[in-house]
């Protein structure tokens, strides 16, 4: 059972209040209709699934109902932090896109 700090409520709460929202920062192609099959397929189906640090979205379902990002280690379950999407994005980019 994780404990997440919701960056909007500024409260550390049990996992029960949250729902997983999938890998973070998967951008929808700007012009889907002009996107080729392979790129669209990657957007739909290809996920990083790393053993290690992972940027992912969580949803404060029974709280403020905001999506936010969490940097979590999938191997150790350590949580590095949680941020609103835009702030998390800056850190993510600074890290080189979660690579």
């Amino acid at each position: 059972m994780f404990v997440f700090k919701c960056p909007f409520c500024q409260e550390a709460r049990e996992e029960e209040e949250f729902a997983y929202g999938g890998e973070a920062f998967i951008a929808r192609p700007d012009a889907p209709d002009q996107t080729n099959e392979a790129t669209w397929g990657d957007y739909l189906f290809t996920r990083k699934n790393p053993k290690g640090w992972h940027w992912e979205m969580w949803f404060h379902a029974t709280g403020c109902r905001k999506f936010f990002v969490v940097k979590r280690n999938t191997a150790t379950h350590a949580i590095a932090g949680s941020w609103p999407l835009a702030e998390g994005r800056k850190l993510y980019d600074a890290e080189g896109g979660g690579a």
């Binding site: 059972m1 994780f2 404990v3 049990e14 729902a19 929202g21 929808r28 192609p29 012009a31 889907p32 209709d33 996107t35 099959e37 669209w40 397929g41 739909l44 979205m57 949803f59 379902a61 109902r65 905001k66 999506f67 150790t76 379950h77 949580i79 999407l85």
Partner: protein
Amino acid sequence: MRNYRVRTRHARIDLAKPLTFSFDGKRYGAYAGDTLASALLAHGTRMLARSFKYGRPRGIIGAGPEESNALVQVEAGALTIPNLKATQVELYDGLAAFRTTGTPSLSFDLKSLGGRFSRFMPAGFYYKTFKPRSLWPKFEHIIRHAAGYGSAPREPDPETYDHQHHHVEVLVVGGGACGLLAALLAGRAGLDVLLIDEQNEPGGWLLSSPESTIGGLAVPDWLKCVLGELSTMKNVRILSRTTAFALHDLNMIQAVELLQDHLAPSARTKGSPRQRLHRIRAGRVVLATGAIERPLVFGNNDLPGILTASAITTYLNRYAVTVGRRVLLLTSNDYAYQGACDLAAAGCSVTLADTRMMLNPEWEKRARAAGVEVIAGHGIAFATGGREVRGAQLVRLDAERNSVAGKGPFVECDALGSSGGLSPTVHLYCHDGGRPQWDDDRLAFVAPATGRSAAGIYCAGAITGAFGLSEALEQTHLTVNELIIGAGKSRVEAPFALGSDEPRARAPRRIFRVSDGLPEGRGKKAFVDFQNDVAASDIHLAVRENYRSIEHIKRYTALGFGTDQGKLSNVNGFAIAAEVMGRTIPEVGTTTYRPAYTPVTFGTLAGPHQGDTFEPRRYTAMHACHVARNAVFEPVGQWLRPWYFPRSGEDMHAAVRRECLAARRGVAMTDASTLGKIDLRGKDVREFLNRVYANAWTQLAPGKCRYGLMLDENGMVMDDGVTACITDNHFLMTTTTSGAARVLTWLEKWHQTEWPGLDVYMTSVTDHWATAAVVGPKSREVLAKVCKDIDLSPGAFKFMDWRAGTVAGVPARVFRISFSGELAFEVNVDASCGSHVWEAFMEAGHELGITPYGTETMHVLRAEKGYIIVGQDTDGSMTPFDLDMAWAVSMKKPFSFIGKRSLARSDTVRTDRKQLVGLLTDDPGTVLAEGAQIIESTAIKHPMPMLGHVTSSYFSPELGRSIALAVVRDGIKRRSEEGSKSGQNILYAWAGGKAHRVRLVSPVFVDPEGARQNA
């Protein structure tokens, strides 16, 4: 009756409180403080069970959660609990326990006959014997009957259970010497401390070794002193009878507290919980879980009367019971010596065989002084006895190798205890991924003395391999001070000297399977795992058959399975496997330690979340109206909805027929309140709808409604419903009943992650509105009686319009939409007025025969029209085109709506996808089973192509025949004129063991022109 009770100074039983209990119907006396095991041993009861596979006689082997043999059923009827360990059952007056094995009786067991053929039942017996899997069904019943232990209660559990959540700075697991010291130090440092301990009182091993001293104080005095100080600390709490059974990520510990199990059912407080689940979130955890002694493996080591040496010591010192009068102990280490001395002091004749050549001189001196006969350098080849141990044949061991150097004496005994060393209780440490380390000096898998302090997990005492009392206390003092400093407090000095009078330990001998001088398998069976009847020879066999991973050896032999989870057997098993494979023990490693440490009742895990409180039950605002009209209800998700409304003498079929015909030919009404409703406001709602629905919303004017198909990004239909334009900046969306929560989350996700710039606010208003759908050709007439301020004429109030007005005196939104294909009005009012409006309609429609109907009729009516139910007729792989609903998709919208691009993927544009069609059987009376597979021919051969399946199937009263919806490969072409001409429209539905000929038709069976809903 034999009596093995003795007088000891410090026993924890109360001789002033005698009580009686029964085992297998026979009554016995005991004292308060006894466990079922100690009391039975006090009467000399040896055999309590028959073994799992061979039916061999078995008795008590341990004194705590490690017990593998003495599984009992406690109490009968609704209160019965199966498979409790007799060593953990605290006695109360009148307790009734029963054996869980032995058919027909303990003294004569049918399985024991099989035991004589045990060489035909090797490891992997079941895998090998039932390799032709066709044999298994024939034997399954017999084997299942023979296997297993107690039986679960058949009645509902009358007891209650509770959950409690804690947030503490320090959690100490284990109330032995080290746990108590840890709590004392952390408490003195001012930290908020919770200590939990499995036993009925704190003390741990100290309760079994009262003659030891700490800092010059006798152990009972030390305990009194420490517990006294702890009880005065407001920041320290102690929970006894509380077992931590799981350690999860981020220091989340689950523990079960037995609140009333130790009380007679009549003495329990009614309404108070029997057990409580504690979910503890701890800043820091101190694992002071101690260690469990493992037995040595030798021939016939499973005879009743053979226990671990520490268990024999515990029964003597804690319960004032000598397991026998002539006691033989076999040890590879120093730990059995104190017990030997104590037994001798209690008047037993004691022989101590030590497998080591070089004894610890101090212990040898003390033992001999106490009158113990000490034999160095010997092991046991085999024990003798029928239903209990009578003696043992000793052998002289080689000084270096584990082999026999010569014959030893035969020693008569009526109790035998063995000690192969201690196995630290590392389970919790390993639950969240920690691995134990092999300590080659101490011959044990230990948790590191440093714990995992970065994660806030500290290990104290015997769990780290610090088996001696003083070294354990010193290590605890160091570790807990690290914790204290890490928590920002100042170092706490030891409140007393930590030294004990124990002699300094001498190294144990590396021995697990004691050699009997014969090749494995030739001598007497030597058991490693008692609960699963795994002998040393089984592990040899597994390795011979080329199993190499210890996880595979475990599964092949069943080593470490069962209610004891290998607490006694695992390390012996790993060591024997290592020996046979010629590897080291750390190379072989351990199996995985998983929660739960000991069995936990389902009642505790469920706690208050059972029955009515398991999940909230939702009722509509009109529920009482339906109850009053004798509705039969069905659960739909959390909702309870009327299913049908039978009149007296009607079955479901008759009621549904009547309700359907009323809707088609007169007037009927259903409660549609459960549909999900989402209120959307903001200047960009229209654009938002354009993006989340396949349809176009730009032209929808206020006062109008539109049916929408919602797709996921794969282009598959995920929800549908009608959305009304209230004003240009305000829309009301309806979703499927079951999809309401999912759709709201979906919309919020897209809004927050992709289009935060859109000005849209969403609110769930499902519960705010009550909805009565008035349906049928006479519905306008009924509505007109209770609604005077809306022009209901067909020209003024068209199909797919909505109007605001007053219905039965209440403000209402009236939607002219239809899920039945009939003229219909869905009247939405404030939920608090729901039953008032329902009753007003019933009264107004009385003379026209208004008929309430439930979900079953709703389904028939919609299926007659070919209206889909998302999730029933679709399954996440259906596009709008598969459903022949291209009319609901606007490919021209400027923004590429969710799912649009995927509709052009090579897989979604295939024309031979499964598509929605109607089916008609040859026999109008045959109602196909939903789920029936669609096949091409009556000639059944395996495998054959499955073309699709029936998704909805009903008898249509309107048509007087059965109808069905199905998804069928290339179905739209097959049912077309062209398909009919070539006969492609004829297929078969496989249902009830029969292929039914079916004709593929349009899914719209009634009023294909839609004249009725537009009337």
